[in-house]
């Protein structure tokens, strides 16, 4: 039976303040949440209004050893857990977290760069929390969540997509309780980036207004506690709302601009309605993405008119309350939708004064009491990435459609890498050095890219596109989902943009580098290259990044939302992690940094014909410290019969700190199975990088085929993540 996720806790921090009550008060009071930027000086753009959180986060109790984004996320998580009144026994293996973050610890890392570029000092400590996944791990560690921990980084739709992913985890029975939401701080990167794209309204955003001139940047975090209804009822929790539907899509149109007719937005809203089992006419309110840019608001309005056949229900944008807080925005607006349901009031749309004739509709002007049963929340991001959530009152009767978990076939595989060991120099502004690396340059097949792809796309994006092409050939009318993870993201693009921004004091920005710097840029490029308009996700979770992508892709097949799903991961060699890793002693003679891209083409077990292999099990989680091989083997045997494992394929020969852990697991699994299970590794072939387990997956497919046995791909992350994936030989194809 399908488990319909219910919401039992909320937490939020944004420019109006900290706490759900404070935020709702600001909304009810129609208070403009924008104030001049104070977080850092901006000589070129000046103190343009933003949704900045001007609170002392440490005084509020946030952890000291964390980035600004981490602290925002942690504060929202604490409130959500408190408001759900979760008892201690609710935590543990059956509780997890999915967080959306677009910039992660960028604001703090920028401090390192400024010192390096302006003063020539190499002090990398502020980069410790750079990764987008840092906040989710902090939350998991702080509150004792040992179930799945994943970060979704699809720019401005991240928060909503994270909540949708958590809902799928609840539905699939991966967890009883999930924390889900989004967190992002303002950073120089996004500040300079949106200005470079000429997308910022100097007067503050005016969503849907005739004179609107762009967006306003914001920051913050919001978290929801999702549970199975059964779990909530068993513990007597108060159900605040239901998450009755969710949907995702990709425009596959442009890196920044939405499809002019809002085609992708419309598709995502339709998926959400379908999964909720609702008609458009049953939606009582839409919390629009409504950034205030000319293009977004017009395209979104067109999509709304098409969905509702001209009878658009009350709608409003909340961006003038909070600014556009990127990955946090979808989560903050989710909280607002749930509060709207609870208060039975429509939130207004500050910043609006005059109807745009091209839009021909006006948003909610004032807080209005009404009857609300089902409300929709839209979030759209760079790369044409769309995510839509539908929340319903606790007593409503939406029937969320079940998704049937079944094994999947691997029907294609594209691998870029591994390269031979070569020397690579680290160059200025870092202290010069030489390192052994496994590079994928020169890129095989680069000549097949279009002239625009060659001049525009960075190395990482090119690797991803080439791997995807090798795995899949588009077929007309086929619905294709893409989940392409990346551990570090598009470092070369981000570094080029921000180095230039810092060195030139905001002059001569690089508009094309900014949209290329988001984690979902390679996934978006694949969508444009192959015309895939289904889910387009970019998960990130350290060493288990690929497994998270596989998980998301698989669910799309289970839910019947895609005919084919591409799951992959990619990371690139870049000066900063090389230099910082050298300083921190990570790179040694045994641990050679690498790079690559792997994309696997997946289809449901029934639908597909000849396959390379089958994937029959996949589980994500976090291990406890000290590491206990017996406990972890028990965790594996809950999902996988040890008798089905012919080969254990681990992430050994990578980080030295993980070697004893993998060794102890190989011994323990053999002991419990009562026979010696062969232990193999793959990092000696591809080098060490976050998404190396994607390469491991390609090795697992090959081993399962050659040896005709089950291969357990087992991955540990130094920061606590774990994943298992069982790859088995393909079933013999049925005679035609």
């Amino acid at each position: 039976m399908a488990q319909q996720p219910v919401i039992t806790g909320l937490g939020v921090i944004a420019s109006p303040g900290c706490g759900v009550a404070t935020i709702w008060e600001a909304v009810a009071g129609q208070r403009d949440g924008l104030k001049p930027l104070t977080l850092f000086p901006s000589p070129r753009y000046g103190p343009v209004p933003v949704g900045e959180v001007q609170l002392d986060l440490l005084k509020l109790g946030a952890p000291r050893r964390a980035s600004r984004t981490d602290r925002l996320g942690w504060l929202a998580a604490r409130e959500a857990i408190q408001s759900a009144a979760l008892p201690p026994e609710a935590f543990g293996d059956r509780a997890g977290v999915v967080l959306g973050s677009s910039v992660g610890g960028s604001f703090d890392s920028e401090g390192f760069l400024i010192k390096l570029i302006k003063e020539g000092k190499f002090h990398p400590r502020p980069t410790r929390f750079h990764e987008c996944h840092s906040s989710a791990e902090l939350i998991a560690d702080s509150f004792g969540l040992f179930g799945p921990a994943m970060t979704v980084s699809t720019a401005c739709s991240s928060g909503a997509l994270a909540i949708a992913t958590a809902a799928e985890m609840i539905q699939a029975g991966e967890a009883d309780v999930m924390l889900a939401g989004g967190a992002d701080s303002i950073s120089r990167m996004t500040w300079g980036g949106f200005h470079a794209l000429l997308l910022v309204d100097g007067q503050g955003c005016r969503p849907f207004d005739a004179a609107r001139g762009g967006m306003s940047l914001g920051e913050g975090a919001a978290m929801l506690v999702l549970e199975t209804e059964e779990n909530a009822q068993r513990r007597g929790a108060k159900i605040l709302a239901r998450l009755s539907g969710w949907g995702a899509s990709c425009d596959a149109h442009h890196v920044t601009a939405p499809h002019p007719e809002g085609a992708g937005a419309l598709a995502a809203m339709r998926v959400a309605l379908r999964r909720a089992g609702l008609d458009a006419a049953q939606i009582d309110y839409v919390n629009a993405h409504g950034t205030g840019t000319r293009d977004n608001d017009l395209a979104e309005a067109k999509a709304l008119k098409a969905l509702f056949d001209g009878r658009v229900p009350p709608f409003s944008s909340s961006k003038r309350f909070f600014g556009h807080s990127l990955a946090a925005s979808g989560a903050i607006e989710a909280v607002l939708c749930i509060e709207a349901l609870r208060h039975q009031q429509l939130p207004p749309n500050p910043g609006f004064s005059q109807v745009d004739p091209a839009i021909g509709m006006e948003p909610v002007r004032e807080l209005t009491s009404t009857t609300l049963t089902h409300v929709m929340s839209n979030s759209f991001g760079f790369g044409g990435n769309n995510a839509v959530l539908i929340f319903s009152t606790p007593t409503s009767t939406a029937t969320t459609r079940a998704a049937k978990p079944s094994p999947i076939n691997v029907t294609g595989l594209g691998v870029i890498g591994p390269g031979a060991v070569t020397m690579r120099g680290i160059t200025s502004p870092m202290p010069a050095d030489q390192l052994s690396v496994r590079s994928c340059e020169p890129l095989p097949g680069a000549a097949s890219l279009t002239p625009n792809q060659r001049r525009r796309l960075g190395h990482l994006h090119q690797m991803a596109v080439l791997a995807a092409r090798a795995s899949h050939t588009p077929v007309a009318d086929q619905r294709v989902a893409v989940a392409l993870g990346t551990g570090f993201g598009c470092l070369a693009e981000g570094a080029a943009f921000i180095e230039n921004y810092v060195a030139k004091d905001e002059a001569e920005p690089m508009p094309s580098r900014f949209p290329g710097s988001v984690h979902n840029a390679p996934a978006g490029q694949i969508a444009m290259d192959l015309g895939s308009r289904g889910l387009n996700s970019a998960p990130t979770a350290g060493a288990i990044t690929f497994e998270c992508a596989l998980w998301q892709a698989w669910r799309q097949l289970d839910a019947g939302e895609a005919d084919v799903a591409l799951a992959g991961a990619t990371d690139e060699l870049q000066n900063y992690p090389l230099a910082i890793g050298k300083r921190w002693g990570i790179w040694t003679d045994q641990t050679v940094p690498g790079e690559g891209a792997v994309v696997a083409r997946l289809a449901s077990g029934e639908a597909s014909s000849p396959a390379l292999a089958r994937v029959t099990a996949l589980r994500l989680g976090r291990y406890r410290r000290p590491f206990d091989a017996a406990r972890e083997t028990a965790w594996i045997s809950k999902t996988v019969a040890l008798s089905s494992i012919g080969i254990l394929l681990s992430g050994g020969h990578g980080l030295p700190v993980l070697e004893p852990l993998y060794e102890s697991m190989a011994q323990e699994i053999s002991r419990r199975a009562g026979r010696t299970i062969e232990h193999q590794t793959y990092k000696q072939l591809c080098g060490e990088f976050h998404s190396a387990s994607a390469f491991g997956f390609s090795v697992a497919v090959r081993l399962a085929r050659e040896r005709q046995c089950g291969v357990l791909l087992y991955t540990l992350s130094p920061r606590g993540g774990k994943a298992l994936c069982l790859v088995q030989p393909a079933l013999p194809a049925l005679p035609a």
């Binding site: 000429l198 890196v255 002239p451 001049r455 001569e508 920005p509 690089m510 508009p511």
Partner: protein
Amino acid sequence: MPVSTTELKTRIIEALNLQDTTPEQIDDDAPLFGTGLGLDSIDALELVVMLEKHYSIIIKGIEEGGPAFRSVRALADFIGARRAGT
């Protein structure tokens, strides 16, 4: 002071990383966007940066530069007019 279209083409090639294109291959009157060189709105933003960097012309909204981005000649005329203060 008018700007030569050849100089402008060199700047465009550099700003947009048009690796395989030479100034001779760009027609003075051919459309820059859509067809022709296959440029898009992000390229227009790069041209905005190029105009500021080399010609000290500041464009605040992409609509403002719209007509100027029609062709190389239109862009040269736009630069000339801005420099003449008209």
